[in-house]
Amino acid sequence: MTQTSPASPASGDEVDPSIRPIAFGLVDLLFDLTFFVRELYGDDLDCAQIMICVNDATMRAFMESLPSDSEVLRMRAPPEEMRGSISRRMIAEKTGIARETVRRKVGMLIEAGLLAADEKDGVRIVPQLHDPRTQKLLEAGHAAVGRYMAVVRNYGID
């Protein structure tokens, strides 16, 4: 099967031939990942986006420089001094959510025990990777990505 670049040009009443297969694959992937997000973070899209943003900031601080065989990968929770944090202002900038909404929802998430404020008033995620339910959801999300790639590869897209 000929591999198609996702950026192939289209003309007239034709659409880039990669678009429809990608859109088709995405609906299944988004269905699975929406379930994942609702299970982990509930039905509030703002809260989900804030949690994802803080999670990224917390992990990016140590993950990017981590060798693939690092013992940190096996830890239930990396030491606090390794973990990153993010200000409420930066969360608003990265997510596009209004600052007042971020302030209010971060307060709710801290109260729910999902986020924690550090000594500089930055926000970081409360470790959850040791939780079997979280691990199961992550495995399901990872498997959903694998199914997406199988779908688009079936149409010659890689």
């Binding site: 000929t2 289209a10 988004l30 269905f31 929406t34 096996r74 239930r76 992550l138 999300g141 790639m149």
Partner: protein, 163 residues
């Protein structure tokens, strides 16, 4: 994890009380970036709440399932800008509720709002279809960006030896 482990100068071991599967942290790290991008896509494509997004995803799937499986990569089905209505699928509100797990009344209310926004429409049999949007350059770009985000996820996890 038994006993102390070394994880670099200046670090403490106080936070460590056991081990997790070493695949989990790279997957979680990659998934955070992927979800950030895909939620941006969902907000752009489907609006501002997760239940509406779930309904849109369910209807889009039903609309495309009728002609996409089995379509050849170079076929007209794949290349044509807009699909003929005759080949597009549809789904009832009851089936949306069954597939999403959302209460029927919620589905009825949210579908009505999505129809009013012209994201969905009701066909002649009363079933629901997704309004074609792949001819919109902004939507095409969003679809390609979502695909790039998936590829980026795969690159991130593979850097840690996770496949």
């Amino acid at each position: 994890m038994a006993g102390r482990v070394s994880h670099g100068p200046g670090l403490t071991t106080s936070a460590m009380h056991g081990e997790i599967d070493p695949r989990m942290r790279p997957i979680a790290f990659g998934m955070a970036a992927l979800l950030h991008e895909l939620i941006g896509f969902m907000r752009k494509a489907y609006g501002e709440d997760l239940e509406s997004a779930l309904i849109m995803i369910c209807v889009s799937d039903a609309t495309m399932q009728s002609y996409m499986p089995g379509a050849k990569p170079d076929s007209e089905v794949i290349r044509k800008d807009k699909r003929d209505e005759a080949v597009r699928g549809s789904i009832s509100r009851r089936m949306i509720a069954d597939k999403t797990g959302l209460p029927r009344e919620t589905v009825r209310r949210k579908v009505a709002r999505l129809v009013a926004c012209n994201y969905l429409y009701v066909d002649e049999s009363g079933a629901i279809r997704a309004t074609p949007r792949l001819h919109d350059p902004e939507m095409r770009q969003a679809v390609l960006s979502a695909h790039d985000a998936v590829k980026s996820y795969l690159r991130v996890i593979s850097a840690y030896g996770v496949s």
